[in-house]
Symmetry: C2
């Protein structure tokens, strides 16, 4: 199985602290890593088929403060698909003049939908197949970029059809919103004023967010297993999808729900 890390912010933020803790887990998840950073509409996606513990690319991500409003990272333990660059997550496609980034944790059995439209797999993972199918069905459901609520409604119809084939923890972003779906393991935390100190679970490293932020900054962090020992991580329920926009949980315009992340 792989592990996922996502960040959605209201102001461009670097992910060096969280990624450092996340990359430590690459000892077990050694078959490649990847991280995609949105900056406005643009995206940079770094992938390597080497472990995030030893890749010079991962080293650069830990040291170079790339400020981004939406980040998706992945460390891979190969279950389906060879250890090859084209099988590294995140995957990127363009739809409606926007880039879409996707990473998946889990196994899908017998998921072989017909990819008859504009999205084909380059590698041979179930994950890329699921992404291409989501893109294909999204492109059929909307003629141009839908609102976050509209797309969330579409995904709520599509995702269970994939999840029926196995474990489908995934993150998806278009640079505006971060959709995170949990089959088995996913946790989130909201970092906002008043900021406190956080200590990594996997490494002897702490950070005092109060010194790095302004009171209006907000960041939502989503990850397979909690990264820190002293933050109020919330576990997703199986089958739950959360959407984050501007560093907080997005509440559908038509409903009145309580803030729950």
């Amino acid at each position: 199985m792989c592990q996922l890390l996502g960040m959605n912010c209201n102001t461009p933020t670097d992910i060096m602290f969280s990624f450092t803790g996340f990359a430590t887990r690459a000892e077990e998840h050694k078959d490649g890593f990847g991280v995609a950073f949105f900056e406005g509409r643009g995206v940079r996606c770094f992938v390597d088929h080497r472990s995030a513990r030893e890749s010079p690319l991962a080293e650069m991500v830990k040291r170079y403060p790339i400020k981004s409003d939406n980040v998706i990272a992945h460390i891979r333990k190969a279950t389906q698909g060879r250890v090859a660059l084209e099988n590294c997550h995140p995957f990127v496609r363009e739809l409606w003049g926007r880039y879409w980034v996707f990473a998946h944790n889990g196994d899908l059995k017998h998921f072989a939908p017909r990819l008859h439209a504009a999205f084909r797999t380059v590698g041979d993972t179930d994950s890329e197949r699921a992404f291409c199918w989501l893109m294909q069905e999204m492109s059929k459901a909307h003629a141009s970029v839908p609102s976050v609520d509209e797309l969330s409604a579409t995904l709520a119809e599509l995702v269970p059809q994939v999840a029926a084939h196995g474990t489908f923890n995934f993150m998806l972003s278009n640079g505006v919103a971060l959709w995170a779906h949990c089959s088995t393991h996913l946790h989130c935390v909201l970092r906002q004023h008043p900021f406190a100190t956080a200590r990594l679970h996997d490494e002897d490293l702490s950070v005092d967010f109060a010194q790095l932020t302004t009171p209006s900054d907000r960041a939502a962090i989503v990850v397979t297993e909690p990264l820190t020992t002293d933050e109020p991580w919330i576990a997703f329920a199986p089958g739950e999808m959360k959407v984050f926009v501007h560093g907080r949980l997005h509440e559908p315009a038509t409903e009145h729900t309580h803030f729950s992340c």
Copy 2:
């Protein structure tokens, strides 16, 4: 105007030497840079809206020997489109289950084709528009991955329609072949046995390729202006397109032409 650098090899080769010389030219071309490396079907594309002279990403590319069989690099001097990540070349799209990478040097005037199919621009450059149009028309011309010869024939029909709008020096690769088209400035050199020493034009740096290669290695380098002072660079003719496969000029199967690069 921007500058382009491409490499096509018969064995995965790093581009550190050539990129170092190329990046030196970023003093004038300071509005971003990008470099895409194919490894088999996979691709990694590094882009930065900062100059290749000062970007930590460019520094990594100069020092980290990423071995690739097809590389396209670009340094940008903005003429159309803001200085933003989404306007940095190379651009990447997927078609027929392959990634396609494109970079352009030149200005296109009044080129506003209808993008009615699966390829839309994310940024606001004429270059990305040209790439999306080429992808769209290629996808209409072939149902699945065509041969290099077939695609070259298609491009030979499409490219003049774009080039009629201005300067259209470009490079395109799918990880197998490198297509390079010249409107104004493009040069190539073939590095093969017997290898010699080459000295960069822009920096006091030499390399003895004989010490780094085996006799069967071959690499074709294509660039806006010659990178070295002591290699037999060949200038493209205006309107000429060359195709490189396995580190040498690709000769159409049905014709008998002389090796000319």
